[in-house]
Structures are given as structure tokens and as C-alpha cells.
């Protein structure tokens, strides 16, 4: 069966169940999946359809830090053990290999690469993001467990960089996912990246790197921004 057939089948099924629901007078969606309107932090009203809009099925929830010394100890552990997701999103990924190889060796600072989002807590957005990648980045970001940190590399993530006038790349990353640390450069050198990790460590140890909660808190605002540009919201048939 081709993709098109699959999609049409799915929509057919949806239509049928919707019709059934109408006929029976009952909603076929779970209450948390109902379409609703929410108020964004900037006051605008956003329409939300969880079935289509949320990659993770449910909206992320704010996870409060623990109290006192436990959290402090955990923050220290988090800072000294940063696991970076191996997702080369832009040209900055060319500077990742020097970091994991003899010259710069970020392992000694407790930073290492992990292949899967489930096991990583730091996400390096290495430069520009095309809309097509942004969609995957959001999905990947939402898959990562909290607390999670985002490092944004280079001009592109701050204000579009070289590609400020490109129809394909976004201009400012902080509209779509919260960013902890920005590193200037095009490309930032490995040393600058290490400095970025240093800054991130400081932030984590000070308990200031709670952007995952910020994302959960302002989820609708972020979603609204994402929805503005990700027009084809359906993922390809990833089956996991």
C-alpha cells in the first residue's frame, strides 16, 4: 500500500468514527484530547487540537524540582554529566567530532554523546533549522526527559544568521523551543562550545536551567508559534 493510500485510509477511518460519534451523540475523543481554546502568555487566544498538535500525545507537564539539598546534589550530578543528543541539525555538527576526539576531548568535562533522545538531556541545535528539521527537532525535544537543556550554536539560532532571508529556515529559535545558552560564532569553535558547556554547568548548578518547565508552562504559546510555520503537521509514518 502506498503512502497516499495509507493516509487516505486513515482519514477515512477518522471520518467514519467521527460520523459514528455524531450519530451516537457522544464524543469519541478523550476529554484531554478535545479541541479547545487557550490563552497564551502574550494574551492571544490559541486554538489547540491535541490529537494533531501534540507529538507526545499529552501535553508536557511542569515537573517541580525537589527541595533543598537533594535538588542541589542532583543539579551537581546533572551538571557534571551532560549527555548530548547526537542529532546534527546544521552545519555546526561538523565541530562535534573534534569535541569527542583527542584534541578537545569533552569527555573529561563530563559531556558525552548519546544516540537516542530518551537518554540525552542536552540538545545542541547546531545552527540553522529548516522547517522540515524543526518539526523533527520539536518532536525530539519533546521526547527528551526533563530536565533538558538546549544549546544554540551560532548566529542562525539568534536572528537567522546567513539565512535570514531564506524561505526554508527559521530566524529565531527561542520562538519554538526554549534555549538555555547561546554561543556566538559561525561556526562557533570547539573551544567556544566548551565555554558554552561551562556556562550551562553554571546555570544547572545554580538551578537556573529550568527551561523544560518553561516549555511546559508556555506550551500553548510555543505550540502556536510552531503551528504558524509547520504547515504539514503530520509526521511521516514513523511507527514509534
Amino acid at each position: 500500500m502506498s503512502e497516499k493510500d495509507m493516509n487516505s485510509k486513515v482519514s477515512e477511518m477518522l471520518a467514519r468514527s467521527e460520523a459514528n460519534a455524531k450519530n451516537s451523540g457522544k464524543k469519541f475523543v478523550r476529554p484531554e484530547d478535545e479541541e479547545r481554546e487557550v490563552v497564551a502568555p502574550d494574551g492571544s487566544i490559541i486554538k489547540v487540537n491535541p490529537i494533531y498538535d501534540y507529538f507526545s500525545g499529552a501535553r508536557p507537564e511542569e515537573e517541580k524540582p525537589r527541595n533543598g539539598i537533594v535538588e542541589k546534589f542532583l543539579n551537581w550530578a546533572r551538571a557534571e554529566s551532560i549527555w548530548v543528543l547526537g542529532f546534527g541539525t546544521g552545519c555546526g555538527s561538523i565541530e562535534i567530532p573534534p569535541l569527542v576526539t583527542p584534541r578537545f576531548d569533552m569527555f573529561r568535562f563530563g559531556v558525552q554523546m548519546r544516540p537516542t533522545p530518551r537518554q540525552s538531556n542536552a540538545f545542541i541545535i547546531s545552527g540553522y533549522l529548516s522547517v522540515k528539521t524543526l518539526k523533527r527537532v520539536i518532536r525530539t525535544y519533546e521526547q527528551m526527559p526533563s530536565p533538558k537543556y538546549v544549546l544554540a550554536l551560532g548566529s542562525c539560532t539568534i536572528n537567522g544568521g546567513m539565512y535570514y532571508d531564506s524561505y526554508s529556515t527559521i530566524n529565531r529559535l527561542d520562538h519554538y523551543i526554549p534555549v538555555d545558552v547561546y554561543i556566538a560564532g559561525c561556526m562557533p569553535r570547539p573551544e567556544a562550545l566548551l565555554a558554552g558547556f561551562g556556562k550551562l554547568k553554571e546555570l544547572i548548578k545554580a538551578g537556573k536551567a529550568e527551561k523544560a518547565n518553561e516549555y511546559a508552562r508556555n506550551f500553548d504559546w510555543y505550540k502556536a508559534n510552531q503551528k504558524k510555520i509547520v504547515k504539514d503537521w503530520n509526521m511521516p509514518d514513523y511507527n514509534w
Binding site: 583527542p102 584534541r103 578537545f104 576531548d105 573529561r108 544554540a152 548566529s155 539560532t157 539568534i158 536572528n159 537567522g160 544568521g161 546567513m162 535570514y164 529565531r172 527561542d174 534555549v179 538555555d180 545558552v181 547561546y182 554561543i183 556566538a184 560564532g185 559561525c186 562557533p188 569553535r189 570547539p190 573551544e191 567556544a192 566548551l194 565555554a195 558554552g196 561551562g198 556556562k199 546555570l203
Partner: protein, 597 residues
């Protein structure tokens, strides 16, 4: 699978005994000496020309005003502000920087949590990397983003030109003009400095695009005498040209001339779209057909007013015709510009001297009067012997030469003065001498030293080429007269011309003396206006400024509301100032006339 293939890879383990090659302290590692790191700007040398903004392909650079940096001639007072959310560190901005003030240091670490912080003004905002000496600078040698040398203007050699009064500057050919226009970086620093605020980058662009009609339109927006200005303008614009900071400034004047030269007079009406101008019933009188008067007349008639120009001499042009020798400004070119202005319906009354009586009549008959009579009285040195009949004022001689009158040309002449007029008379007399005697014996001396001489550099050089002796730095002391005939000029060495406050206060060294032989002395140390035609009662109403000049508003209105003044009598002796004055006065008169309704 053989045994060798299994065993050889294990040789890699030999590395385990070697020390790691890791950089121990990567965070304090320096970039290479040429590394393109973060920006630094020497704000003192920077002139805010904005070429960095123009070449930046990422629109990363803004020009913003900076506290403590004043806008002045040749410095826009703006400084580049760089957005590190855009920059790609290509350093094109450094490579094109006209003043070589922008550079990149070899610092490269900047980590921040707030994306809005990544905008800063290099050299102004405090950053700790300015102290780094190393980093990217403009490469050497022979690496320029625009040609540094101006295109040579073809001229007649001194031998050919010394004989006659024909124009010796040939003007650019099309290729030359385009090549020269190509050097412009379109910063627009010149516009503020040009008294007439001509759209210089735009008309240079027109030259580049070979669009003469567009160029002419731009010229006439601010300057109705392009042919004249294209030849004899004092080109203050070229002194501030940002291209000239490192290299030759653009020859803006010659490019202006090039545009005007390319368009035949017959096409002006069509190009400038002045075939039909609606005239109203307002009448304006202009006294003096010099640059200011003509310029005012042009813009007033464009605004639809009826203009009458009163000129004392028999031909219009004023100082342009009677003060500037023909080899610099041929009369037919003056006629070309003037005729076009006259063809707009401007009435010209030559050989009409305005006196007090007539002035009163003008006040009655016309709605407004614009006075631009210029400086036609020569100043005298008032040294002993300067009242001799063979001591002449350069301005009178020049007028006579233009009018074709016979003047005295002895074998030896001494000229006092270091300005452009002095050069004009020197070179004119030299031509006459050569025609008469076959050789040139003329000495020009001035108070100012060679470096301080107000005359244009090329004028001095060319005068020397034509055989005149320029010997600056001497103060005239006495004219020696023996038997009623002038023998020569005694001079003493000048130590300084201006005092600490930059006031005119020459100091002499009486011990160093010199004697310039000459049968005739020409004084060319400045001119004064002749305002005797203004009636007393009006003159009393007029407020005057510190140097006795009339005080005028920014639209050249005097304290008598119907009377406007402009040109040399209110600003310095300069064609382009006159033109600018005329334009401003035209706007002022128009405003006045409209407000009167």
C-alpha cells in the same frame, strides 16, 4: 582470514603508552594571529560611511548614532552596530572599510543566555577583547575592494596650454568616467558637505549606468549650473570623500562635468521636463547675474514666479565669467547653462546698474528682491607704494581680460596672494606674457606657506608647469618705486600666519628678506562687496553679523522680509555656495510669497 590480518591491528595499542594529545586548557587557547573573531572598531578613525553595512550580505550591520561622537563634515557621527545573530564572520566589512578602522580580533568565545545581548557597537560598548592586538585586518599587498587610484584626467601639456586660453582639461571619455564612477562606494558623506547638498552618489550611479538623462535630472535638482560647477567647483565633497581616506578621492567634479558635457543643450527641456511651466503673477527681482542670482532665478521660475535679473555688466555670469579665466571655464559653457536658465522665461537686463533710486523702484514694483551682487572690489595690501598706478587688483585685471580690453603686460610681474584668484591671474598673465615675449617671468608670493596656501593644489602645480614662479611664505613689506616706476617688492619671511586661536595674525622674521623684481604688482589678497546701492534707511534696518555681513535666516531672508540676500556677499567666495544660496533663497522667496497671499 590470515593471521596477519588478525594480529596487525593490535599494533594500535602501542599508542597506549604515549601521552594524550589533548589540549590541556582549551578555554584559554588563543586564535591564530589572523583569526576572524569578534569585531573591534577604532571609533576615532571611523567616519561612519556605512560601506560595511552596504557590503554585509547578511544585513548584520546597522549604523547608529553614538553618544560623544559629533556629526561633522566628513564624519556622519554614526557607527556600525553589529548583530551577532546575523554575522557570518566573513570579514568583508573589514576588507572594504574605507578608513581601515574596523578589524576583527582573534577572540571567539561569547556565551550568553539572552539572545538580545548579541548586538553591540564595536569600539563603543565595553568588551574585553579590544585589548587583543591580533586578528583579521585588511590583507596586504594589493588587495582592494575598490580601485585606490583615480582615473587620470587627460590634459594638454604645459607647452600646449601655456600659449592660449583654450580649455586644457579634456574631460573624461565614457570608459574613463565609468571607471572612475565605479570607485564610488555610495556612502553619501559628501552630500552633507556639499553646500548645495547635491545627490552626488546618485549622479555617479547614473554615470555608472550610462544614464545621462537621469544624471542630468539629479544635477538640476540642486544645481542649475552643472557645466560651470563641473569645471571650477571647489569640490569640498572631494576633501571628505571616504574613498579618499586611503587613496585618491573620487573626482566628483569631473564626473559632474562628464554628465553635463554629454547632454546637448537642445535636449535639456525635454529631459528636465521644463517645456511647460505655469507662471503666476508674482514678480521677483534679482540683482546680479552671478551663480546665486542665476540659481535663484532658475528655481524661482520653476516655481512659477516671474523673475527679472539686473546685471551691471554686459553679459551674465558674474564672477564666473569675469573672475575666472577662460582656460578654466570656457565662455560657451557658461552660455550653455545660462541660456537654459534664461530660456525658462527669466528676464535678463544687462548693463543695468542698480543704484539707490532704482532699488527703491524695485521694492515698489516687485514682490521680493534677491540681492547677490558678489565681491567685486579688490582688497589692497596698503603697504607703502601700493597706491601706484601700476599696482593692480587682480579682480579688475581678470574682468578686463574677459572683456577683451587691453591691459598692461610688462616683462616682469609680481603677484601677491595665495588663493585661487591669485593663481588665475598668475596663469592668465603668464599666458599673455608668453604671447607677448615668448617667455614667462612672473613671481607669485603669499603669506601662507606652501602647505597652507588656500589655492587648490593642482592649480599651484599647473601654474608652475606653465612657467610661473610660486614662492610662498613671504610677507609684502614695501613696493620699491624708483623714478615713478615700480622696481619690485620687498618681502620678509613669514613665521606664522595664524595664532593659537586660529585668528589671522601673521608674525614675521624681519631678518630674512627678499626682493622680487617686477614692473607691475598685482594684488590678489581678497575681495570685498560693494553694497552702496542699498538705501540708507533699508541698510539701517538690516542686521549685520560679526564680519559686517548681513544676517540672514536659513532661507536667506534678511531682517527686511521682502529682501533676500545670497552669494558671496553673505558666504565666502565660492560658486557652489552661491548656487546653494540661490536655491535656498528661491525656496525662501517662494515661502514668503505664498505666505503673503
Amino acid at each position: 582470514m590470515n593471521l596477519k590480518d588478525i594480529l596487525t591491528p593490535f599494533t594500535a595499542w602501542s599508542r597506549v603508552v604515549k601521552d594524550p594529545v589533548t589540549i590541556k586548557d582549551p578555554l584559554s587557547r588563543e586564535g591564530a594571529p589572523r583569526y576572524r573573531g569578534f569585531h573591534d572598531n577604532d571609533v576615532e578613525t571611523c567616519i561612519g560611511c556605512g560601506t560595511c553595512e552596504a557590503i554585509c550580505e547578511n544585513e548584520a550591520i546597522d549604523l547608529v548614532p553614538v553618544e560623544g561622537i559629533e556629526t561633522k563634515d566628513g564624519d556622519s557621527g554614526l557607527r556600525p552596530k553589529i548583530d551577532y545573530g546575523r554575522c557570518c564572520w566573513c570579514a568583508l566589512c573589514v576588507d572594504i572599510c574605507t578608513t581601515n578602522s574596523l578589524r576583527l580580533t582573534n577572540e571567539f568565545k561569547w556565551v550568553d543566555t539572552d539572545p538580545d545581548n548579541f548586538r553591540f557597537i564595536p569600539g563603543v560598548d565595553e568588551k574585553d577583547w579590544y585589548k587583543k592586538e591580533e586578528g583579521w585586518r585588511k590583507p596586504e599587498p594589493n588587495y582592494h575592494f575598490y580601485p585606490q587610484e583615480r582615473v587620470k584626467m587627460e590634459e594638454l601639456g604645459p607647452e600646449e596650454r601655456g600659449d592660449s586660453f583654450i580649455e586644457f582639461v579634456k574631460g573624461y571619455s565614457k570608459e574613463q568616467a565609468q571607471q572612475e564612477a565605479d570607485r564610488c562606494v555610495e556612502c553619501g558623506i559628501c552630500i552633507g558637505t556639499c553646500p548645495a547638498h547635491m545627490g552626488i552618489p546618485e549622479y555617479i550611479k547614473a554615470v555608472r549606468n550610462d544614464d545621462m538623462e537621469e544624471g542630468l535630472k539629479i544635477l538640476y535638482e540642486t544645481n542649475p549650473l552643472p557645466e560651470i560647477c563641473g569645471r571650477i567647483c571647489t569640490h569640498k565633497c572631494e576633501t571628505v570623500c571616504s574613498v579618499g581616506v586611503n587613496g585618491d578621492p573620487l573626482s566628483i567634479r569631473w564626473l559632474k562635468r562628464y554628465i553635463a558635457d554629454q547632454v546637448p543643450a537642445e535636449q535639456y527641456h525635454e529631459i528636465l521636463d521644463t517645456k511647460k511651466i505655469y507662471k503666476d503673477d508674482k514678480k521677483v527681482a534679482i540683482i546680479g547675474a552671478g551663480p546665486a542670482g542665476l540659481s535663484a532665478a532658475y528655481y524661482l521660475s520653476l516655481l512659477g514666479h516671474n523673475v527679472t535679473i539686473f546685471e551691471k555688466l554686459d553679459k551674465p555670469g558674474g564672477m564666473m565669467r569675469y573672475g575666472i579665466p577662460e582656460y578654466r571655464l570656457p565662455y560657451d559653457q557658461i552660455d550653455k547653462d545660462v541660456n537654459y536658465i534664461l530660456s525658462l522665461g527669466v528676464e535678463l537686463k544687462t548693463n543695468t546698474t542698480v543704484d539707490e533710486e532704482m532699488f527703491k523702484k524695485l521694492q515698489k514694483d516687485y514682490d521680493a528682491v534677491f540681492v547677490s551682487t558678489g565681491l567685486h572690489l579688490g582688497r589692497s595690501t596698503r603697504i607703502p607704494g601700493s597706491d601706484h598706478e601700476h599696482v593692480f587688483q587682480s579682480i579688475d585685471l581678470l574682468r578686463k581680460i574677459t572683456a577683451g580690453e587691453e591691459i598692461m603686460v610688462p616683462e616682469k610681474i609680481v603677484v601677491i596672494g595665495g588663493g585661487n584668484v591669485a593663481m588665475d591671474i598668475t596663469r592668465s598673465l603668464a599666458r599673455l606674457q608668453r604671447a607677448k615675449y615668448g617667455k614667462v617671468q612672473i613671481i607669485t608670493t603669499s603669506l601662507e606657506s606652501e602647505e597652507e596656501m588656500p589655492a587648490d593644489r593642482e592649480e599651484v602645480v599647473e601654474a608652475r608647469e606653465e612657467g610661473a614662479t610660486i614662492d610662498p611664505g613671504w610677507g609684502p613689506k614695501e613696493i620699491e618705486i624708483v623714478d615713478g616706476k615700480i622696481k619690485g617688492l620687498h618681502v620678509v619671511k613669514v613665521l606664522s600666519v595664524f595664532d593659537e586661536d586660529h585668528r589671522f595674525n601673521p608674525k614675521f622674521d624681519e631678518n630674512q628678506k627678499k626682493f622680487f623684481e617686477g614692473d607691475m604688482i598685482v594684488e590678489s589678497i581678497g575681495q570685498a562687496p560693494d553694497l552702496s546701492y542699498i538705501p540708507k534707511e533699508i541698510d539701517e534696518q538690516l542686521e549685520r553679523g560679526p564680519r559686517g555681513r548681513y544676517l540672514i535666516s536659513e532661507y536667506n531672508q534678511t531682517s527686511v522680509e521682502w529682501l533676500f540676500a545670497g552669494g558671496d556677499i553673505v558666504v565666502g567666495p565660492d560658486v557652489i555656495h552661491g548656487i546653494a544660496d540661490g536655491h535656498k533663497a528661491a525656496v525662501g522667496i517662494d515661502n514668503y510669497l505664498n505666505s503673503k497671499k
